[in-house]
Symmetry: C3
Subunit: 351 residues, 3 copies
């Protein structure tokens, strides 16, 4: 089993999920409390009162101005986690502080760093600028997944499953039939998997959203930055169309499909998904269609992966899978995840 | 706790349950996929794709002619389990094969062999010919039981419980009051338990089905072949009636009650039950009555045994039962099950 | 984690719960069967048939006169637990006896002794005479709590939580704001925690029941006798009123709030609560109000403690709480519970 890598940045939420009220989400088995201060900052602290561990997100705990008051005995904390009041006495113990988490809000995502805060380097967070860019329109959601995150990594790194699991939505026979190329950039920590279909059936997902009729050229270029960010650069164009030498690509439709794969616990995952397009930017009907269609596809994955989680959880020790060419990307991702895990094991654990 | 014996034949299903569609059942913790080929053969292979272990019984997996296609990535297998197609490449790995299970279909039952296939001897399967014989009419069913199989063995080997748990259905005071005789045939691997009541109240189960009025002679002759097949030869006749010296027995009614006790997991069991009679062969009303009445009795057992499973699961280590004469058959069955288990431990485990 | 102390008396039920029918409750992980004999005695024996461990409280087990008949095979037992009949034979094994529990019925409570019966000293049971005394009217109930008993001990020993968790019912700002005094009587095995508020808001719980208007003097005097009995002597009076030198206290209202904290299992608790008052003795409206209001308060605790149980169950090993002055009583109680547990560890365990 691939453990949850620590000392890593993870997507905890969409920016839009966090307002001026208490919001809790468990990331890598750590319960974290978020709220947006009146000045607009997102704050992230441990969602456990230091006194008797009552969850501060739990009613009757409440936010009073920019302070959270515990609903059990009234311990009060500021946005930095420092305790500002306790019951029955005026002296506040020096150690009374909720653990704060390094946090970065960018590309419409809220990232937190799980592990040793001294290692948190905001510059290392991978980017997904399309999610928050005027040239794109984005639909997005998050589905809770009762399966270990590595099963979702496997799933997304091998899109041949679209043909079988997502037939009638985004899958066509050519996806499974077309070989892939895989490249691993060890320095950048990125796995690339590409599948270019030059003459393929157009699945409903793209036919209805682009209006293209007939067969298409369909490119799938995956860029996975373990552990959390997965980007699928999808190019849809009439058969024969290729980008111009200068990079412009006026006949094509581009869709950036972004997943953030965030472990909730060892056996559950936050499955964030977003679909950004560079066409029909103001067409609400297209937005509604893509949101509904992609959510259906994600839920097909959720169903399959939750079945696999139960299978894996009950299978005998040492069970062996069989891998073939389509798995090259997934196996590279597993190796990278294991190496990240091994690095963190060489330093003392923090918990 | 008595473990699940391996290197044994188990009833997996009634023949009538398996048609030309995918059917999955877990036997001794092994998920097995069944279907009947167009030529009428029942096939049994591991219900896990060799690639990423997706259950082949799970939608959108499907049967295409006599081949099963995995719903996740399209791996395809024939009735013998051999892989015939994989996505993205023409070469099929030599080791790509679902584990096939030795299978025998007889007496209206589908038997599979769990363990080392080299030890599978079809001739050793115990028979229950009445289930599929023109001289008998049979009603049958299967109830899922959330309790370890050994609790059902205990239950069936000691029918004195009929008086208390099944009063008003098949129990009368004489069952608990009449002593039993027990014989163990070590060579044949059979436990016999007999109780002959010469002058007993006739319970509704037999009064309504046979039409007998007044008191009866009631014989219960148990023949248990561990681990799976239990037969109760039940003879109901007017008081004083005995079989003729030549074996003919025209005044009596014979009911062959058959149970197949198949472990699903360490803590759950498939409780197959069948009632075959040699009278009122074409009387649908009698069939309906016996089916409904016996199912009620089985469900009374299920309720009691599921309670016992929870009791056993939470009791302190080393808890001691107290056994008396009525338990002679059950204790003999336990000893035989433990000996079977010990034999298989002396050879390397297969999993 | 604080284990369940053995060799201790625990409240198993209210007297009113046990009549001439089978009643089962699990105390300290031991399933116990109770019934009241025709002569009025409460009997307590193990709720497991000695034969095949079927629960004697479980249908179709039943009480026939003062004997319990097992619903599985008919083993029969008298009120002392001795077996009086078994199926199929007249000889009853000498060892066929349900374990009897030492039992005392007093103060409207049924106490049982869990552990070595030789250590059961009825004189050591703490008293709560108001629950069964003509000078008081009592309302009472029991809420099942899916949390370890020590979380309820923590809760009740630190009433500052009333201000936050029970605001609008029994909490006012003064409870959390007023310091406590704590005294530990090691010889008597009692923890005392007192909080005297001389000029406090009157919460609805007392305003509506006493009819007092305006601010009050409110005394909370806790007397906890680990592990099971918790008494809160509550005195409500107009501001400035104090008891007379002779102990009489005509201007005050007295409420004795009694909790019995009985572990059901390591992770669940029977939360018995009673409110005895020395005023408005015949006023049903006051009784109804206090019963409904106190039950609401207990359920607020249940909700919070069940959340804490889940938090504690999933937190990393070695998690550290932070304690302040309000916790003095709770910490003293924990120390006493640990000492009781250590004593019993020095003698061989019985189970």
């Amino acid at each position: 089993m691939i453990g949850i890598p620590r000392d890593q940045w993870y997507v905890a939420a969409y920016s839009s999920e966090i307002g001026q009220e208490l919001f809790s989400r468990t990331i890598c088995s750590e319960p974290i409390l978020f709220w947006r201060t009146r000045s607009g900052q997102v704050t992230a602290v441990s969602d456990r009162c230091v006194h008797r561990r009552f969850p501060l997100s739990q009613s009757p705990s409440r936010l009073v101005d920019d302070q959270v008051v515990c609903g059990y005995h009234g311990f009060t904390y500021g946005p930095d986690g420092k305790c500002t009041a306790v019951p029955g006495q005026t002296r506040i113990p020096r150690t009374a502080r909720l653990q704060p988490y390094p946090l970065v809000e960018q590309d419409s995502l809220v990232w937190v760093f799980i592990g040793d805060p001294a290692k948190a380097d905001a510059a290392s967070i991978p980017r997904a600028p399309y999610l928050d860019s005027p040239g794109y329109t984005t639909v997005a959601g998050m589905e809770p997944l009762k399966a270990r995150f590595s099963l979702l990594v496997d799933n997304l790194l091998d899109l041949s499953h679209e043909t079988y699991l997502h037939g009638g939505y985004i899958g066509t026979p050519e996806v499974a039939a077309t070989p892939i190329t895989t490249e691993v950039d060890e320095d950048a920590g990125v796995v690339h998997v590409s599948r270019h279909m030059d003459d393929a059936e157009c699945p409903p997902f793209y036919a209805k959203s682009t209006g293209l009729q007939g067969r298409i050229s369909r490119w799938q270029d995956i860029e996975y930055t373990p552990p959390c960010l997965y980007k699928l650069h999808s190019r849809i164009a009439p058969v024969g169309s290729v980008p111009n030498p200068d990079g412009s690509d006026p006949d094509a439709f581009h869709v950036e499909v972004v997943y953030a794969i965030t472990p909730e616990t060892e056996h559950s995952t936050h499955d964030f998904w977003a679909v950004a397009r560079d066409f029909a930017l103001d067409d609400q009907e297209v937005s509604d269609f893509l949101a509904e269609n992609n959510r259906t596809v994600v839920l097909q994955d959720v169903t399959a992966l939750e079945i696999l989680e139960r299978v894996v959880a009950t299978e005998p020790e040492g069970y062996q899978e069989l891998s073939i060419n389509i798995d090259t990307g997934g196996l590279a991702a597993r190796r990278m995840l294991k190496r990240i895990g091994a690095q963190q094991q060489s330093v003392p654990a923090r918990s």
